[in-house]
Subunit: 147 residues, 2 copies
DNA sequence: ACTCTTCCTACCAACTAAATAGGAATACTG
DNA sequence: CAGTATTCCTATTTAGTTGGTAGGAAGAGT
């Protein structure tokens, strides 16, 4: 599995939003506490203008709300416990398992290689099990217990 | 998980070698029945000169024996049941899970993103479970039962 | 009006993957 | 001992992706 810089940054940004919004105000999160892109970029060492494109993807995927203007910023659309790592990966990346750029379920093999497709589908399923089961809340609490 | 053309071709070539060597002569395989690169390239539609580089990798990884000359060719060093998909992937690819080119176990996160490393390690383990459990023999017999 | 911030588009540079070409080394054949 | 078929290896070209930058247009508050 290859995690691109885009996917890596997206996850770190989402975690930073969840953390910033959750710790001071209400722990249920939901839509308060707007976090500015600039502060996310600084706290996780992400180039600001690159990050803005990523935040846009996350918003279009329905994971973030945004607000412009002087007191603008970003907030999660759902509580961290209801956003999985897989949700974020799919928002920025597309398919999780791909063979030469083709999604695993669209591959076409012939002859002795016919069985390969099932291997990729099994891999895809195994990855999905991990990333869909792990939520942002899980990752934040891991940090609390083992700093 | 991204499967490169190199990895895809390597697997198809290995399957073709296993099949060509196993079907006519002894089903135990092992080292007889040399298969020429040209016939592998044709049966699986792989550019010949590109394939030759891949076969070289597989030989260096100890998965293939090669023989030069008029009656030369390639053969598996072990029976198909003892070669896993993971063996082949690692022979051509290096690490299975990587974050921006860095192997999963060498990633360094800080702050709220600390927990991400464990996610990638879990993914890596899940993938390994699938690809190390599936052997070339499994893939060939799948084909026999579902053509 | 003025300022701040998100939004959006276009672009550049570096890298990697994919494929090609051409030449050595090696082994069998007559 | 030539001659030929084949593996072996390296260098180069080509195309696509990725990571990153720049510059503004649109909206929101003061």
């Amino acid at each position: 599995m290859y995690i691109s810089a885009r996917a890596d940054y997206a996850l770190r940004a989402m975690l930073a939003v969840a953390d910033a919004a959750g710790s001071p105000g209400d722990p249920a999160a939901g839509g308060g506490e707007l976090v500015k892109a600039a502060s996310l970029a600084e706290s996780q060492d992400i180039p600001l203008s690159f990050l803005q494109g990523i935040l846009l993807d996350l918003r279009r995927a329905g994971l973030l709300n945004s607000h412009r203007g002087t007191e603008g910023g970003y907030a999660l659309t759902r509580p961290p416990a209801e956003i999985s790592v897989g949700d974020v990966l799919r928002a920025v990346g597309g398919a999780i398992t791909s063979v030469r750029g083709i999604p695993a379920d669209r591959t076409g093999y012939h002859g002795v290689a016919t069985g390969l497709r099932d291997v990729w589908l099994a891999v895809d399923g195994a990855i999905a099990l991990v990333v869909d089961r792990t939520t942002l809340a899980d990752l934040l609490s891991d940090r609390a217990t083992a700093p």
